[in-house]
């Protein structure tokens, strides 16, 4: 067999180019009528099934430019293309044609129209008729008509093997895409890698040269190999789907042949035909459980797996302003790449530079394990015995469904030397974390009646008017004082009553002594002085007639003055002939004199 195939290859390698060359001349002549057709096969495909868009150009065996295809992206995914040319000579007429096959996978249900394909050939632009494609879940892969390759679903398929279908959030799931075949698969290529949304994907390199093994499945022997392995970390709780992955495999097939010649040219004997086929794994649903809230440590940052924290410093004593390196190693299993940086409470007077992070992840095993190293450079700014507190990191152990914490040992550092003052000790502006309104007023409120004014307040009018009243009073008082000072007549008049009262009091003293003459003299002085002051005339030259005249001129009625002058006359007489009057009479006379003065004063005012 092998020998024959080889011989045929040599034969064709020599003969075919010669034939082709001899046909090149009439070919150019015949290239007049160009025709282009598009077809889709099968016209009804199952979901995730493969279909081919075939563009056939007759009359030319090459295109000027790659045909421009309509947009098919919303319902299909491009797999690949082949092209073939053919030459037919029938009755001396040579027909050349070019067939380009575009292979797609249907990804959405529905009936779609594939628009015109534009082909540029022989200096012309040709357009195909639109074709219709139906994607339906009703038809299954087997019922979609005969597969062009004649490969049955049970001959070649792919399974996504999932380590667990019920996991915690962020717990790794190992997915192996395993190909089962009973055919001769010559090559394969992964063309549609599952886009697993909602997962953090960590690619795991498969074993070298995909270990091929033999397995028996449902009584049938299969050749099987793992094509791809990934570890998925679910990012959140809920039911998640591990999306299917597609592989294009080239399979050597042997067709049912009709004749020996056919058999010869189709190459089943010598050139087993290479059929490309696309196989897709089935989607797998995974239930993702949320991480339990009770018992969650504060230092938990989301890692599910296992952790081990260790810390060390490169020396135990240091001078201030010298650098020390703190190495923090976090080892463990799980999604270490997504691990949040640890929070370390460095002593306040340490200057800390952002850590340098190195990572080594070992993916060789199904479990992703590895370590992360954080290297902090610390500069102590003040001397003393310093302690770097333990660094705690928590994780969730999915197997026991419990939280656990790993902590490093506290580290002692002896800092010697002088304190560095004014060093840039991490000073920074105060950062506003969030904006919020200022707090309510809690002090006593100044309550007012709505629509009320200041004038409603108690005491307003007192405060407003009382000083004004006081001011008016003061002005009156001032005016009075000024008159007393400047106007002698006014001053004497104002003084008259007081002086008269004083003299009457003197008279009462004299009366008790029993000297009648002195008594009347005193009363007379009081009466005279009073009127002299009131009328502002000299007391010495006081004449009763003049005074009477003056009083009349000032409009004092005679009734008021009569008693006064009567008293005055009585005093005049008593000075020369004092009557032997009793104490009662004298006292009564005093009263009369006082009343007479009051009467005159009233008359004057």
């Amino acid at each position: 067999m092998r020998g024959l195939d080889w011989a045929a290859t040599v034969f064709l390698a020599i003969i075919v180019p010669g034939v082709a060359a001899s046909m090149a001349a009439p070919l150019e002549v015949a290239a007049v009528q160009l025709q282009v057709d598009a077809s889709v096969s099968p016209s009804v495909v199952p979901l995730n099934g493969q279909f081919t868009l075939e563009v056939e150009l007759r009359g030319a065996n090459q295109v000027d430019a790659e045909p421009s295809l309509p947009e098919l992206g919303d319902f299909s995914r491009y797999i690949g293309r082949n092209s073939s040319t053919s030459i037919q000579m029938i009755g001396g007429v040579t027909t050349v044609s070019l067939t380009i096959q575009y292979r797609y996978r249907a990804i959405r249900e529905g009936t779609f129209e594939i628009g015109a394909v534009e082909v540029e050939a022989g200096g012309q632009v040709l357009r195909t008729r639109p074709v219709t494609l139906t994607v339906s879940t009703e038809v299954d892969a087997a019922g979609a008509g005969p597969d062009p390759s004649g490969i049955g679903a049970e001959d070649l398929f792919m399974v996504a093997e999932v380590s667990k279908t019920r996991v915690y959030e962020n717990e790794p799931i190992e997915v192996s895409y395993r190909l089962f075949t009973r055919l001769n698969v010559s090559s394969y290529s992964l063309f549609d890698l599952a886009e697993n949304q909602g997962f953090w994907v960590e690619e795991v390199p498969g074993p070298r040269n995909s270990q091929v093994e033999q397995r028996v499945l449902d009584g049938q022997p299969y050749t099987t190999a793992v094509l791809r392995r990934v570890v998925l970390f679910p990012a959140g709780p809920g039911t998640k789907t591990i999306e299917p992955m597609s592989v294009e495999a080239s399979v050597r097939v042997r067709r049912q042949t009709r004749s020996l010649l056919d058999d010869f040219f189709s190459g089943s004997r010598f050139f087993p035909s290479q059929e490309a086929t696309v196989i897709t794994s089935a989607p797998v649903a995974v239930e993702v459980l949320p991480l339990p809230v009770p018992g969650r440590p504060r230092s938990f940052t989301g890692l599910v797996g296992r952790l081990d924290v260790s810390a060390s410093i490169d020396r135990s004593s240091v001078e201030t302003n010298d650098a020390v390196t703190l190495e923090l190693i976090v080892e463990g299993e799980g999604n270490l790449r997504g691990l949040a940086a640890p929070i370390i409470d460095f002593p306040a007077d340490f200057e800390v530079f952002p850590p340098e992070v190195t990572e080594s992840i070992d993916r060789s095993d199904s479990r992703i394990r590895g370590s992360r190293t954080y290297e902090y450079v610390l500069i102590p700014r003040s001397p003393g015995e310093k302690t770097i507190p333990p660094v705690e990191m928590s994780y969730f152990d999915a197997e026991s469904a419990l939280y656990a914490t790993s902590a490093s040992q506290p580290l002692r550092l002896d800092v010697t030397g002088d304190a560095v003052i004014g060093a840039p000790s991490g000073r920074a502006g105060v950062e506003t974390l969030r904006e919020d309104i200022r707090f309510i007023q809690i002090g006593p409120p100044s309550l007012g009646v709505l629509g009320g004014s200041l004038a409603d307040a108690p005491g307003f009018w007192i405060v407003a008017l009382l000083p004004l009243v006081a001011l008016l009073g003061a002005l009156g008082l001032r005016k009075h004082w000024d008159r007393l000072e400047g106007d002698v007549a006014y001053a004497r008049g104002r003084r008259a009553g007081r002086l008269a009262k004083k003299r009457l009091a003197q008279a009462r003293v004299v009366m008790s002594e029993g000297d009648a003459r002195a008594f009347y003299a005193e009363v007379e002085r009081a009466l005279r002085g009073f009127l002299a002051d009131k009328l502002n005339v000299a007391e010495a030259g006081f004449m009763s007639q003049v005074a009477e005249e003056e009083l009349r001129r000032r409009g004092v009625p005679g009734v008021d003055t009569r008693d006064y002058f009567a008293c005055l006359g009585e005093c005049d007489r008593a000075r020369f002939a004092p009557p032997r009057s009793s104490a009662e009479e004298k006292s009564g006379f005093l009263g009369r004199a006082a009343e007479a003065m009051t009467a005159v004063q009233e008359g004057l005012s």
């Binding site: 309510i440 006593p444 100044s446 309550l447 709505l450 000083p467 002005l475």
Partner: protein, 254 residues
């Protein structure tokens, strides 16, 4: 002198709250307590009882604004902050919260530049709290009158010089701050302003119910000045000077 002392005592008594307000203070304190406990609904109800009883207070309005803000109602919080600002002009807390609340509204309006003299006047009017202002005005009045009384009644070179100095100084103070107080008490030159409380309001070019007249749209929390009324319509002026008509019902005057 005795008169002056008495007047001063009366002045101090005048700043006390009206007697019926004493029980109202309990609503305020209750509201504060609920606010601090995080019961904003309860605090709001308590504060509003005080307002419904016919009292006004810058502090209470400010707290109501805060409560609305915490409840997520930005537009009423702006309304109450504006009310608080009328009673407590120049209060930094009120201004800060008003600015924050305004930054959360939909409409971003660039205010027209103001003539510097108006800004200076505003600063002058809001310089001190009402209580302090009343105290200053009353004190300058009493001191001034006292100095004049002294000038009238006493004679002497010292008295004349010092009395005149004190009287003129307190006269100047009384005049300046008295004017300030008068502006605030009688709301002189204060335009009527309002806050939009509806989520979205079409502003029309005329006071007619015709959608085709819509010239622009404002959203809740926007402050407008009311220039005039025409039946149930109000002519409003935005801070950037744009003018239009809206239904009175969509506004709440400050």
């Amino acid at each position: 002198m005795r008169t002056v002392v008495f007047a001063a005592m009366v002045a101090i008594a005048m700043f006390g709250t009206p007697p019926s307000a004493v029980t109202q203070v309990e609503f305020y304190q209750e509201g504060n307590r609920l606010y601090q406990e995080g019961d904003f609904e309860g605090a709001l109800a308590s504060y509003l009882r005080l307002v419904e009883a016919g009292f006004e207070s810058g502090e209470v309005y400010y707290n109501i604004g805060n409560t609305y803000f915490k409840l997520g109602d930005v537009a009423p919080s702006i309304l109450y902050y504006e009310r608080a600002r009328r009673l407590l002009p120049g209060d930094a807390d009120v201004q800060a919260n008003l600015d924050l609340a305004r930054s959360l509204t939909v409409d971003e309006i660039e205010p027209l530049p103001r003539f510097w003299l108006f800004s200076a006047l505003d600063w002058w009017v809001g310089l001190m709290s009402r209580t302090l202002l009343i105290a200053v005005v009353a004190a300058s009045y009493l001191v001034g009158i006292g100095a004049v009384l002294l000038l009238v009644l006493k004679r002497g070179a010292h008295v004349a010089v010092w009395g005149r100095r004190i009287a003129s100084a307190s006269g100047v103070v009384f005049f300046m701050f008295g004017l300030n107080l008068a502006v605030r008490e009688f709301e002189l030159g204060q335009a009527q302003e309002a806050v939009v409380l509806q989520p979205q309001v079409d502003v029309l070019s005329a006071p007619l119910d015709d959608e085709t007249l819509t010239i622009f749209t404002v959203h809740e929390g926007t402050k407008v000045r009311i220039d005039r009324f025409s039946e149930e319509w109000a002519e409003v002026v935005l801070e950037d000077g744009r003018v239009g008509w809206v239904q009175v019902g969509v506004l709440e005057t400050i």
